[in-house]
């Protein structure tokens, strides 16, 4: 790679790694403004347009508040970081080119000038239309291609591997364990920070696309194929993923949460997930457990350690420990659970799960109590 290119990329990375950029929700808003001003204004000196964009970005960041859980511009993984750097460089260069073209346009259309000779303009066309774009594009191509091998590489053999299946409209997640066994959960992924993780992506029905914007790019899940993705999360926190390929009626409601934690926390989490479903102690939850059986929930859902072994729907063994209900669309609390059970098809149009409004308020509350304590 040419030295200048190296330097340029180095600068971008340095900026992007700016410690404060990633830290601390409370100071985020002020920080985003500052950061935008500093990095956009000083390092590139791109003038007012970039300033305006910077303002828009920081404005958007204030919009997002502490919850920039889905933003490619608040990276929490090596891949997302590299791509965000690349974006900012391309954006800066693009803005410059656009301003240059607008300047030319203004000169041509508005200024009072004598007509130029055709000979003069020949060089103008060759340099402006062919030579300069070619040089810029070659540089860009080199940058892009240089990044590519690492983005499409396989994960190191001993790294954590997770199978994720896209299903209309939720995610089946399976962790292969060291002892050859595996555990299954749904719509939630937990990752150890600063370790490579490989995903094997498959689809059980139509094409989906697996995307955690904060951590890295997306890869499609295609029936009949297994696609792969490697990510390196490098910041702890809770992030949100989405299905990026239109997959039918409730495509918009196919989300999931990703928790990036320290290795110790991850091990503890995995150990908890390995256990069977807890038995209910609270009276309401005990009634809920009976309802779970009598309503036939086990036909579709699995609760490890109980008679429920259905495979059609999500595994619910540790449902209560998850971040959301209904694939990232409702918070996980009793109220939401009973709301979900009552109006499933309304909340998520054309979902396969029937709603259980026939059960009545009290029974739904029992069922919700049972599900919630499945930590």
């Amino acid at each position: 790679m040419p030295l200048t290119l190296e330097l340029a990329l180095g600068c971008a990375r340095a900026w992007a790694r700016d410690e404060a950029f990633h830290r601390h929700c409370l100071s985020d808003r002020r920080f985003m403004l500052d950061s935008a001003r500093r990095s956009l204004g000083h390092r590139w000196s791109l003038g007012p347009v970039v300033g305006a964009w910077g303002a828009i970005v920081s404005f958007a960041a204030t919009q997002a508040g502490c919850d920039r859980q889905q933003s490619t511009l608040a990276p929490a993984g090596r891949e997302a970081q590299q791509i965000a750097d690349l974006f900012w460089w391309m954006f800066g260069a693009g803005a410059l080119i656009w301003l240059f073209m607008m300047g030319l346009g203004a000169y041509v259309l508005v200024s009072r000038r004598r007509p130029h000779s055709e000979r003069q303009t020949r060089l103008f066309v060759i340099v402006g239309g062919a030579v300069l774009p070619t040089i810029l594009l070659v540089i860009l191509l080199c940058c892009g291609l240089a990044m590519l091998p690492r983005l499409v590489a396989r994960a190191p053999t001993d790294s954590l591997t997770i199978d994720v299946h896209g299903v209309q409209w939720w995610w089946r997640v399976r962790y292969a364990l060291a002892d050859g066994e595996s555990i299954e959960l749904a719509n939630e992924i937990c990752l150890p920070v600063n370790e490579p993780v490989g995903f094997n992506l498959r689809s059980e029905d139509v094409i989906h696309s697996f995307w955690i914007p904060s951590i890295g790019g997306k890869v499609d899940m295609i029936p009949g194929r297994t696609t792969r993705l490697v990510l390196h999360p490098n910041r702890t926190g809770i992030f949100r993923g989405a299905c990026a390929e239109y997959c039918g009626t409730s495509h918009a409601l196919m989300n999931f949460y990703v928790r990036v934690v320290s290795r110790d926390e991850f091990d503890a989490w995995l150990a908890r997930q390995k256990r069977d479903a807890v038995s209910p102690t609270e009276p309401s939850a005990r009634r809920g457990a009976q309802l779970f059986v009598s309503s036939g929930c086990g036909a579709c859902h699995t609760l490890r350690g109980t008679s429920a072994r259905g495979r059609v729907g999500p595994d619910l063994t540790h449902f209560g420990s998850r971040h959301s209900v209904g694939a990232g669309i409702l918070p996980n609390d009793r109220q939401s659970i009973s709301h979900w059970l009552q109006r499933t098809g309304h909340i998520k149009p054309e979902v396969e799960m029937p709603d259980f409004h026939v059960l009545g308020e009290e029974q739904l509350a029992d069922l919700a109590a049972y599900l919630e304590q499945l930590k």
Binding site: A60, Q63, A64, D67, R68, Q70, S71, T72, L73, Q82, I83, F87, M90, G94, I97, G105, V108, L109, P115, H116, Q120, T121, R122, F124, V125, G128, G129, A130, P133, L137, L140, L141, G144, M147, L148, V152, L201, D205, V206, I207, P213, S214, G217, K218, V219, I222, P223, G224, T227, R240, A244, E245, Y246, C247, G248, T249, S250, H251, A252, P349
Partner: protein, 830 residues
């Protein structure tokens, strides 16, 4: 009455437009072009209305203005309508309207084909759009990815998309054939290929792109509809199919499509800029080369729509490079326009304003396009709102604004009256501000992580305000466009006629009188400049006084000149078809085939197909290759030109040749499918599948080859006045073709290949079926030639029919050869 007036009277009479309800039987390009333009624009407004509904739904998070299903229908229809019913047709519409004027021709060479294309477009478009009012619209996205659009969407929506839009694609292809022949053969004498207006160059490039880009999609439509209707598993992974084949076929169409939409608008810019710079275009040949280069490159980029499908890094790298390279010819074109303005003295107008607004917008779309061509960035941006922002910058900046500029520019030529500069200014500023307010924030919405095609989004992730801004902007943009529509539609009875050539342009279309006359041009001029109105002395006077070619219509026929492809020497005087209802009925019955098939009413489909075939045969029988009352006629300036030619000199031969190139492209796409499956399977054909064997395919192939040879011989014997051998040859070829086709079918039939069992038998059946249909059509054509000869409508001298049919048979022979080689030969060598 002077001789000149008498001539003018006769000319007017020949080109007279029918009155009253018969007006709708007219086929002249200036009327068809206008209907086409208005219809395409109506579809644009419909698609825009759908967009506003979407923006209302997305204005606030968790909105329930539209249900998920409604939203999905609406976004599918918005994309499909804008692409298939507006973007491509509007280019063909404007070209049908303008091209003959620019070339100083009286009409396009096959006016009835344009009329047929228009009626197909209207009926198909209304059918597709209407579905949304019955909650039956397609809901699979404009890209229709299987398997979502097969087993998971049982209603008729997807069929409406596949069949309705295939129908419109056929009509687009018909118009493309018409335009290619128009540019190549209908130029005025002396207008060598290096003198034609830039617009025509672009049209040539774009029509050729349509010719090679649409057939893969039509082939894909065929496969997907076969899977939907008959369960042939082309895209079903469980039975050996692969959903990715659809994506390849779709994007081999879909990426050139972007340039098919964008280049015609550049073509308009290339006409407008020199006029308002008052100087010829700078770098004519650079612009031409750039346009051709863009056309070529655009076929090598499709995979950049599939960067996230898990392709190997090497293909991603190659397609990433190609995708960026396409920016270079675009840059050259832009700089040529800027250079032209630099050389000239700029005159300001609303047209130029829209051009400038369009280009400044398009540059942003181009720059973000280069960004998403960089694969790593695409991994994040793909299928996010960033791409929605990007593509609207490209399409609205690159196509809609220039088209509006074109409307302001060409309105006086078409209607005889100018549009309002003041309303134009209003429209421009509203539209450009509204546009940027709508689509600029979308880039950011996408980077914040919002995927495309979502009917709603949650609050708390930073999407709310940006979406609200976009929604407000959308209504401002709509207001700007409505001002423009008002300017077009407002009554202008009291407005004075525009002066002739109001912009003082230099190209032939500005010879048009205000109001224009149905003859198009008083006499067809001799050209020796790119800007004859600027460069050739006394040009307008000479044209108006009928001093050039064809100033008269002695026989009361509609005539125009056909010239040679490169240097535009006169070849012959073509008599084009006049008003007829046949094209209308042919379109109705063709529509019946597609519409009835949507509902699986196979009997009605068959009947409608037969009626369509019959109507088209009557149309051909009465309207084509008509033997003239005399072999030659005086066309003016002391030149005698023939009235009938056959073979490569004739427009009919060119139309057949170009159509068959498109046909072969569709066939090649099916063959591509076969080899695609071969590459993804370890064993293809899967063992122990019997395959169609060697015997029957070889027998069928040999018989078809003999049918082809008999047809060639029959043409020769006909020309040598050996009547009996001709009849024997042509009828023998019918028999050989039919038995050959039957033998081809016997291959998969006798070996019991079940097309629903696995993708291999399905692929074999499709290739065989495609071939057999072509062979059967060839047999029908030979029967037609026999009847023509018996009826005396074809003779030894006037033999265009059999000559064109022979050309068709060359392609059939090639198709058969390839099919036999693939289904019988390939399994033995692989």
């Amino acid at each position: 009455m002077s001789l000149q007036d008498e001539q003018a009277q006769r000319l007017l009479k020949a080109w007279e437009t029918p009155k009253g309800w018969r007006y709708w039987s007219t086929v002249n390009n200036s009327h068809i072009g206008l209907w086409y333009t208005v219809t395409a624009f109506a579809f644009f407004l419909f698609g825009g209305g759908l967009a506003l509904l979407m923006r209302i739904q997305l204005a606030i998070p968790n909105n329930d203005f539209l249900s998920a299903d409604q939203y999905n229908q609406i976004f599918t229809m918005h994309g499909s309508v804008m692409m298939f019913l507006f973007a491509v047709p509007i280019f063909e519409a404007i070209s049908i309207l303008l091209l003959p004027q620019m070339l100083g021709a009286r009409d396009l060479p096959l006016p009835r084909l344009s009329a047929y294309s228009y009626w197909c477009f209207l009926i198909g478009g209304v059918f597709v759009c209407g579905s949304i009012f019955f909650d039956a619209a397609p809901r699979g996205g404009w890209f229709m990815y299987p398997p979502l659009t097969v087993a998971y969407q049982p209603g008729i929506g997807a069929d409406i998309w596949l069949l309705g839009l295939s129908f419109i694609e056929v009509s687009s292809l018909a118009a493309a054939v018409e335009l290619i022949v128009g540019v190549l053969k209908c130029r005025p004498p002396g207008m060598r290929l290096n003198l034609i207006p830039l617009y025509s160059w672009y049209i040539l490039v774009v029509a050729a792109m349509i010719l090679f880009a649409f057939p893969p999609l039509i082939a894909g439509d065929l496969l997907l509809e076969l899977e939907r209707a008959f369960d042939w598993p082309f895209f079903d992974a469980r039975r050996g199919g692969d959903p990715l084949l659809w994506q390849h076929l779709f994007w081999i169409f879909g990426h050139p499509e972007v340039y098919i939409v964008f280049l015609p608008s550049v073509a308009l810019v290339a006409m407008i800029v020199p006029t308002f710079a008052r100087t010829p275009i700078v770098g004519y040949s650079w612009v031409v080369l750039a346009a051709v280069g863009t056309g070529f490159l655009s076929f090598g980029l499709w995979v950049h729509h599939m960067f996230t499908t898990g392709l190997p890094g090497i293909s991603i790298g190659i397609f990433s490079a190609a995708s960026q390279a396409v920016a270079i010819p675009t840059g050259i074109q832009l700089f040529c326009f800027l250079a032209t303005l630099l050389v000239g003295r700029v005159v300001h107008s609303v047209s130029l304003l829209f051009v400038f607004g369009g280009l400044s917008t398009f540059i942003i779309g181009g720059l973000t396009g280069v960004m998403v061509a960089v694969a790593p960035f695409d991994f994040q941006a793909h299928d996010s709102y960033f791409v929605v922002g990007h593509l609207h910058y490209v399409l609205i900046g690159g196509a809609i604004f220039p088209v509006i500029a074109g409307c302001y520019y060409f309105a006086p030529m078409v209607t005889g009256k100018q549009l309002s500069e003041r309303l134009g200014q209003w429209s421009f500023w509203l539209a450009i501000v509204g546009f940027n307010v709508t689509f600029l924030p979308m880039h950011l919405t996408g980077l914040l992580g919002l995927p495309r095609r979502v009917f709603t989004y949650p609050s708390g992730l930073g999407f709310e305000t940006l979406n609200l801004i976009s929604s407000v902007g959308a209504f401002v943009l709509a207001a700007g466009l409505l001002v423009f529509v008002f300017d077009i539609l407002r009554p202008r009875r009291r407005q004075a006629w525009s002066p002739r050539n109001p912009w003082q342009a230099g190209t032939l279309e500005w010879l048009a009188e205000m109001p224009s006359r149905s003859w198009g041009i008083r006499s067809i001029p001799e050209i020796d400049s790119r800007y004859p109105l600027w460069d050739q002395p006394n040009f307008v006077r000479d044209v108006d006084e009928g001093r050039f070619y064809l100033p008269d219509a002695e026989e009361g026929q509609r005539e125009t000149l056909i010239t040679s492809t490169i240097d535009a020497r006169i070849i012959y005087c073509l008599r084009v078809g006049g008003p007829t209802w046949l094209t209308f009925w042919a379109a109705i019955f063709t529509a019946g085939v597609f519409i009835f098939a949507t509902y699986h009413w196979w009997v009605a489909t068959g009947i409608s197909g037969l009626l369509a075939l019959a109507t088209i045969l009557v149309w051909l029988w009465t309207g084509t290759a008509v033997i003239p009352e005399k072999p030659r006629k005086h066309v003016g300036l002391g030149i005698d030109a023939p009235l009938y030619v056959s073979g490569p000199q004739a427009v009919g031969w060119w139309a057949m040749f170009i159509t068959m190139l498109g046909d072969m492209t569709a066939f090649a796409s099916l063959v591509f499918g076969y080899f695609f499956y071969w590459t993804i399977h370890d064993d293809f054909p899967p063992q122990p599948s019997p395959g169609p064997g060697l015997l029957w395919p070889l027998t069928g192939g040999t018989l078809v080859a003999f049918a082809w040879l008999c047809t060639c011989a029959a043409r020769r014997w006909n020309r040598q006045e050996r009547t009996l051998p001709f009849y024997v040859g042509v009828l023998l070829s019918v028999v050989l073709a039919l038995t050959g086709g039957a033998a081809m079918l016997a291959g998969p039939w006798t070996s019991r290949l079940d097309p629903t069992a696995h993708v291999y038998p399905a692929t074999v059946w499709v290739l065989v079926g495609w071939t057999v249909v072509h062979v059967a059509l060839g047999a029908l054509m030979n029967g037609y030639c026999t009847a023509r000869r018996i009826a005396g409508r074809m003779t030894a001298e006037y033999d265009a029919d059999i000559t064109n049919v022979r050309l068709y048979w060359h392609f059939v022979a090639l198709t058969t050869l390839v099919t036999v080689a693939v289904i019988a030969g390939f399994p033995r060598v692989s």
